[in-house]
């Protein structure tokens, strides 16, 4: 019960939260190197938790039509197309008459248009719904094109050769120090005996503070319902000794559920194995108990920088700075009080004078 209660490594999260005789901490290890992007996790989660559909819109982000985690999507599979290859993969397009990579085209079409939506595209299901204006107005033109480009037209030094398609299933991180949980004023968010973080739907009054408290942009308030929603790591299933729905469904075991200590060991072994195989860019994300959130209960093996997957590179639980913030606030309050007292005292002095 001492130390690192609000930040830093903390071994016994559940115990710290007052759970005596609690089971071991559990979590997810998501090995994105074997993710096939099937989205079974998204669907299995929704079926089990009766999470509503999050919008039937096409987002144009490769095969990602979910966009992000949110109130109505507790698992989100990211798809990233990149002009490079992974580890021992051969360059897929070597020797083809390719031009420059077009992977930028998607982001160019998607990113700028997100900003005009109300919350900048951070809510689910927002994206460029309509065809780009300039183009949809194109008349249907008769194309007197020659059928084939001449050989070499599209070749050259700039030709793309390497390609890889990263897929990764994102989920609530169930942080050791959870920003959402810390700021929740009702106790709706709580640390379970399994060390996970869950919103109690019978308590939440939808203040929305947790939405801003989360350094990963995971939790969100569900429109029309008004309550905050996120992955519960299938709290009900855990009570029954079952693994969470997403991990159970995952066809390639990209999503692994288990005791966190064991998962961390497994992840370390997997990382070493990939490094041995020449996949040098593999790295673990959220595994480190020394990070800004004390390590994640759900952590990942990634093949690129976290931000490429839409993850913050160095998240910090805001609570870490709470003491200093309160000190500053205290000073400001003191100044305020002093000003108040001073005002009347000075007025009194002035009046006497």
């Amino acid at each position: 019960m001492t130390g690192n209660r609000i930040s830093g490594p903390l071994h016994d999260v559940a115990g710290e939260a007052g759970h005596d005789d609690h089971p071991p901490r559990v979590g997810f290890f998501t090995d994105t190197s074997v993710c096939i992007g099937c989205k079974a996790c998204e669907v299995a989660c929704k079926e089990w938790n009766a999470v509503p559909e999050d919008g039937l819109d096409m987002l144009g982000m490769s095969y990602d039509n979910t966009g992000s985690l949110g109130a109505n999507s507790w698992r989100h599979v990211a798809f990233i197309e990149q002009p490079r290859s992974t580890g021992r993969q051969d360059p897929g397009f070597l020797g083809l008459p390719t031009g420059p990579t077009g992977t930028s085209i998607m982001a160019e079409a998607v990113g700028p248009r997100l900003r005009d939506s109300e919350r900048g595209g951070s809510e689910l299901g927002t994206g460029p719904l309509d065809a780009p204006k300039a183009e949809s107005e194109h008349p249907v033109q008769e194309l007197g094109m020659p059928a084939f480009a001449r050989p070499g037209d599209a070749t050259g030094a700039e030709g793309r050769t390497d390609f890889r398609w990263l897929m990764a299933s994102d989920v609530c991180k169930h942080c050791t120090h959870a920003g959402c949980l810390d700021v929740c004023p009702t106790g709706a968010l709580f640390r379970t005996e399994f060390g996970t973080v869950v919103v109690q739907q019978d308590i939440c009054n939808g203040c929305g503070y947790c939405v801003s408290g989360c350094p990963y942009g995971v939790i969100d308030r569900r429109p029309h319902d008004g309550r905050a929603q996120k992955c519960t790591l299938c709290y009900d299933r855990l009570h029954g000794g079952l693994e969470p729905a997403c991990a159970k469904a995952c066809p390639t075991d990209s999503i692994q559920f288990g005791e966190l200590d064991e998962l961390r060991e497994r992840a370390d072994r997997r990382l070493a194995q990939l490094h041995e195989l020449g996949v040098g860019e593999a790295r673990l994300y959220g595994r480190d108990p020394d990070d800004g959130v004390g390590g994640d209960g759900a952590f990942f093996l990634l093949l690129d920088e976290p931000e490429v997957y839409g993850l913050p590179p160095d998240p910090v639980v805001p609570t870490r700075d709470a003491p200093s913030m309160w000190r500053r606030a205290g000073a400001a309050a003191a100044a305020f009080a002093l000003a108040g007292v001073g005002a009347f005292v000075s007025a009194a002095i002035g009046a006497r004078r």
Binding site: S104, P112, N205, C207, A337
Partner: protein, 392 residues
């Protein structure tokens, strides 16, 4: 690029293989060039910039949009920044304008209560009456804003289920629940019609009002400043990054608005303390805000552009004008006092809306999340490079 890749391996030591690390760098170096869009040259202009976007920059947009708010050159080189299709990393706060209004109303309630309590103690009945009534009205308004912004307003009372030191909103709720009754009692006493004053409840109220009011005034500094922590204690870059100055900005703003309200409602002769309070508050707010702007890194962009910039510039002008008016004319002219008070009130309100909006804006572009964190990591790595990690 290599360096950046390296930093991401915060656990390379854990891997424990220098060789593996070298290999990583090797690989990264090899694959890096194609990852960079070929057209870096300036002639490609916006296209080249947009090309960055596929690794996700929101910069192109910022530049264009920034045009409205006179875009200054950015500090961070583009190539450093990648994101997921330019999608935000964080969720924009779900809070609406009501929360900004709450910030203002809460500050006003706190400021006014201090003015009222002081007036009570120093025998300034008009100022006292105005103060308590203003404080109470602001308090009611703030409660309305707060509750109606809830997803489930009928569950407002769940706020009192727990007392969480880690939750500024919980702390604030409990502060308000001490502050509120005092203000209420004092204000209600001001409202008791003359003909009821002799009844025993009125007499009881009369007796209790002062201590209760004073208790409210004692908690008022907390009410005035906790809202800054409320905003800063989030992952929202536009709020979190300004955590050191924001309490002073908000406390000053609360004082300015409380004093300003006193100036607006009370006769000049009674309002001297209100003027001082307002002036000190306004000055403090302006100084703190200036300091805040100077210290901000990349996040400063959101404060310097667009709607946020306009709101806060207007706030600054109004507060400055109010301050000048307070010092120069409010002691002599009732209308001058009223105008100054109004200017301060408006300035305070706009400050809150501006800061609120800055937070909203800062979540919409992943750059504000990623770049500072990257810099932090780079700095950490640099430190680590200087002082090799403890082998333990």
């Amino acid at each position: 690029m290599t360096e950046r890749e390296g930093t991401s391996h915060s656990d390379t030591e854990r891997v424990g293989e220098a060789a593996a690390q070298a290999e990583n760098r090797d690989i990264d170096q090899r694959v890096a060039p194609p990852a960079e869009p070929p057209e870096q040259s300036s002639e490609e202009g916006s296209i080249g910039r947009e090309a960055q976007l596929f690794q996700g920059s929101g910069l192109g947009r910022r530049r264009r949009r920034g045009g409205r708010g006179r875009g200054e050159p950015t500090v961070v080189p583009d190539a450093e920044f990648r994101s997921y299709y330019g999608r935000p990393v964080l969720k924009a706060p779900v809070w609406e304008w009501k929360i900004a209004a709450y910030l203002f109303a809460g500050g006003l309630a706190a400021g006014s209560s201090v003015v009222a309590a002081g007036a009570d103690l120093t025998g300034r009945p008009a100022l006292r009456r105005a103060g308590w009534l203003g404080s109470f009205a602001a308090l009611l308004a703030s409660l309305y804003f707060l509750v109606s912004d809830l997803g489930r307003p009928e569950r407002f009372h769940h706020m009192l289920r727990v007392l969480k030191p880690t939750s500024p909103m919980s702390v604030g709720t409990w502060i308000l629940s001490v502050f509120g009754p005092g203000v209420g009692a004092a204000a209600v006493r001001e409202l008791v019609p003359r003909r009821w004053r002799r009844t025993w409840p009125a007499r009881l109220l009369d007796r209790l009002a002062r201590p209760l009011g004073l208790s409210a005034a004692v908690t008022a500094p907390g009410v005035a400043s906790y809202t800054a922590v409320l905003l800063s204690h989030t992952a929202v870059p536009g709020w979190n990054e300004v955590r050191d100055e924001l309490p002073f900005v908000f406390a000053g703003s609360a004082a300015a608005s409380g004093g300003g309200f006193g100036m607006l409602c009370a006769p000049v002769e009674e309002a001297a303390p209100a003027r001082v309070f307002a002036a000190v508050g306004a000055a403090g707010e302006l100084l703190a805000a200036k300091r805040m702007e100077q210290r901000m890194g990349l996040i400063g962009e959101v404060y310097r552009h667009g709607k946020v910039h306009r709101l806060r510039r207007a706030s600054e002008v109004l507060t400055l004008a109010g301050l000048a008016g307070t010092v120069l004319v409010a002691g002599r002219s009732r209308s001058g006092a009223a105008a100054s008070g109004l200017a301060l009130l408006a300035g305070s309100a706009l400050q809150r809306f501006g800061v609120f909006e800055a937070g909203m804006e800062s979540t919409k572009d992943p750059r504000y999340v990623v770049v500072p964190q990257r810099e932090r990591l780079a700095a950490r790595e640099a430190r680590a490079a200087v002082a090799p990690p403890d082998p333990g």
